[in-house]
Amino acid sequence: MYHREIINESLIKLNFHANTKEDVLKEIADIAFNAKRVESAEAYFNGMLERERTSTTGFGGGIAIPHAKIDAILKPTISVIKLREAVDWEAMDDKPVQLIIALAVPANQEGTLHLQLLAKLSENLMEEKFTGSLLSAKTKNEIYQIITSIFE
């Protein structure tokens, strides 16, 4: 049941048009802010941007996993954006990114349950079967079901 708190369909956006990685990160921050998951969209945006500067979160195969662990985040959150056209993410395989799975974690997150879900999601992103089904998903509900199925 806990996964209902970490992702829902209001945190999933399909067919989003973006020109740059920054456009995408801004949208992710706005989605999280509108869903009352973060105190400040700007702080979440800056947190993700800072993380990207350390090393790209575009791990290949057209998928990126931007994330931030900062004070301004209120609840552990997964949000998903699928782009209409892929954007450059300076990815590990130099391929543009079309699917973005963003994570938000409060800096003082205590208790491991939600962190375990995020770790499990991260591990699953190394499985082509999992990433393939996310890439080919057509609806918000499909994406929600695919992600939450690994938490069962």
Partner: protein
């Protein structure tokens, strides 16, 4: 071949666990035994103990941050790479380590 590894990244949210999975899959593919300890946001998990180290031929550190209890590995053959290397191509990380041994 017995491998032990530690993965760690600054946030400890995503890449630590992706690198763990990457190394486990790569070791299976190459026919090696591996135990991967994660040092992430949940602290140390699947900890490498003295008995694991005794059997280990190689220590792989896929880390972007200072790890805890690093002195355990003193005197062992250590191959250190950025955590991203184990996410991108863990087979290469293991092959490089074995080639250097």
């Amino acid at each position: 071949m017995n491998i032990v590894a530690v993965t760690a990244c600054p946030a400890g949210v995503a890449h630590t666990y992706m690198a763990k999975k990457g190394l486990e899959k790569a070791a299976r593919k190459l026919g090696y035994k591996i135990k991967v300890e994660t040092q992430g946001s949940m602290g140390i998990e699947n900890k490498i103990e003295a008995k694991d180290l005794e059997k280990a031929d190689i220590v792989i550190l896929a880390v972007d941050t200072k790890i805890e209890k690093a002195s355990r590995f003193d005197g062992k053959f250590i191959h250190e790479v950025p955590v991203a290397a184990a996410v991108k191509n863990a087979v290469k990380v293991i092959e490089d380590a074995v080639a250097k041994l």
